[in-house]
């Protein structure tokens, strides 16, 4: 379980004739077995935040710490699209991101594939899997590195409603079982309410405007009244800020 600490993190993109602020002095802390969702309208800097946390991009200014005790935390990343190497089998895709590729690692990868019900697909190529199965392979890959922190960038937004619902359930079970720290970016408020222990609300211009603690008991049913009420509450907060989520 990792700790993420951000202090006045800022990201600016310089285009030919203007400067775009993607993250505007964002500060927050996530630690322990938390499942924190980041929600907000398109262009509020959600994905940029994950890219900076994962090291794909660098911040313009501010302070960022991702630690596990005294050491640097290990990260796993689940992307919007599965981002599997199409020319490698499912098992090789999991092995690709491992530091060590011995028998033990292979067994661990197989175990995570089985956890997402893909135990029989290790020798298949991604093109032979459905979209939902590919995304599950992506989730298995992220867990198979045994990360301290799991970053997820709208992982279910490309999937149909039924598959998405099934995967959300599997993700919740995996999270409960593995006790990882998760930072989950989504534009789907219901999804955030269903899965999170805390929700960070972002607004256009990269502002972190509010934090909401979700204390509904797990497991949560997306179609229940409690989730619907919590969703309505979040939407009202956005409306009050005049920043309706899209």
């Amino acid at each position: 379980m990792a700790t993420i600490r951000l202090e006045k993190l800022r990201k600016e993109f310089i285009t030919d004739d203007s400067k775009v602020v993607a993250l505007n002095d964002v500060s927050f802390e996530v630690s322990g077995q938390e499942f924190v969702s980041v929600i907000g309208p398109s262009g509020c800097g959600k994905s940029t935040l994950l890219n900076i946390l994962s090291g794909i991009e660098t911040a313009t200014s501010g302070k960022l710490e991702i630690t596990e005790g005294e050491r640097q935390a290990r990260l796993g990343y689940v992307f919007q699209a599965a981002r599997l190497l199409p020319w490698r089998t499912v098992m090789d895709n999991l092995l690709f991101v491992q530091d060590v590729r011995d028998k033990e690692t292979r067994e661990r990868c197989q175990r995570y594939l089985e956890m997402v019900e893909l135990g029989h697909t290790g020798k298949q190529y991604p093109s032979q899997l459905s979209g939902g199965m590919q995304q599950r392979a992506g989730i298995a890959r992220a867990f198979s590195t045994e990360p301290d922190l799991l970053l997820m960038d709208e992982p279910f937004s490309h999937l149909d409603a039924i598959t998405g619902r099934s995967l959300r359930r599997e993700l919740h079970e995996l999270w409960t079982r593995t006790k990882k720290t998760v930072l989950f970016v989504t534009h789907d408020v219901t999804e955030a309410v269903e899965l999170s222990t805390r929700i960070l609300m972002f607004a256009k211009g990269g502002h972190l405007v509010e934090e909401v603690t979700m204390d509904l008991p797990f497991p949560r049913d997306a179609t229940s009244d409690e989730v619907a009420l919590a969703r309505a509450d979040i939407m009202r907060r956005f409306e009050a800020l005049d920043l309706v989520a899209t």
């Binding site: 991101v97 093109s127 039924i162």
Partner: protein
């Protein structure tokens, strides 16, 4: 749930069957070759055999060549063997030079701008010019044909590799970076495989252009090889030799395309989707369980 009645379609008549067979793609292709043979045979009735040899005469010539029965100084196997040696060496040099240049062009804009015009000129240059220039510079021997092959192929290598570098999927590079995958593993497992389609394009186009260039170079600037043997038959006024050797060129090109490039490509790109190999969805994604 709605009910639909399926009717058994009426069986086609034998006349309709024949029309269907004739309309099939494979039949059309076979018919085109038969038409060519018929037209060829008919042409020999009005045109002297010194100009157009009858198909039977060409086939006899080719059969003799296959059995290494020939009056030419080189048998079919010697001449094509030597030409392939030159082609192989020339292509290897073209890839050895073209790959780093292509990588540099794909990665660095200034290099692309610096070399752009030369690449365009290289692509537009007929192989004949390379053959003549190489012959002029290096005279008779192995060097001129090899250099011709290299010059005729290198631009195709450069342009395809550069395009390949520009098309390396950024999302996969980002994924590798997010997981902290080492640079060498990223090159080996992400960059190199994504370059493969472009590498194959370079190989195919480079081979086709180099093969034409090689034959010309052997006609003009060599005293051996398949190109030179076709010239031998030309000088000997044996039209069946010229046509027969031309057919060998075509056959060899088709064989290389099908047996070497085709199979290699099927192996390298075996990961590409084929519907017959798709595996079924696991039960967990079935709506029934969702509703449970």
């Amino acid at each position: 749930m709605s009910a639909t009645t399926l009717r058994r379609p009426a069986l086609p008549s034998s006349g309709a069957k024949l029309v269907n067979v004739l309309k099939a793609n494979r039949s059309a292709r076979i018919m085109s070759w038969i038409s060519l043979l018929v037209a060829w045979q008919l042409a020999t009735l009005v045109i002297p055999s010194e100009l157009i040899p009858p198909p039977a005469q060409v086939l006899e010539f080719m059969w003799n060549e296959v059995r290494a029965v020939t009056v030419a100084p080189e048998t079919l196997y010697m001449s094509f063997g030597l030409s392939f040696e030159r082609l192989g060496v020339g292509l290897a040099i073209a890839f050895a030079i073209g790959t780093p240049i292509g990588l540099a062009m794909g990665m660095y804009k200034p290099v692309e701008h610096f070399l752009h015009d030369f690449v365009v000129v290289g692509l537009a240059m007929p192989s004949l010019v390379w053959a003549l220039v190489a012959g002029m510079w290096f005279g008779f021997g192995n060097l001129a044909p090899v250099i011709t092959v290299t010059l005729a192929a290198v631009t195709f290598v450069v342009i395809n590799i550069a395009e390949g570098v520009r098309n390396v999927p950024k999302e996969l590079l980002d994924m590798s970076a997010a997981y902290g995958v080492s640079r060498w593993r990223t090159i080996r497992h992400v960059i190199f495989p994504s370059l493969m389609p472009f590498f194959f394009a370079a190989l195919r186009y480079g081979f086709a252009n180099a093969w034409k260039g090689l034959v010309l170079a052997e006609v003009w600037a060599s005293t051996s090889g398949a190109g030179w043997v076709i010239k031998f038959w030309y000088d000997a006024h044996r039209s069946q030799g010229i046509v027969g050797y031309a057919l060998f060129f075509i056959l060899v090109a088709i064989l290389i395309e099908r047996l070497v490039f085709g199979r290699l490509s099927n192996y390298v790109f075996r990961w590409r989707a084929t519907t017959s190999r798709e595996i079924p969805e696991p039960a967990s994604e079935a709506p029934a369980k969702e509703g449970a």
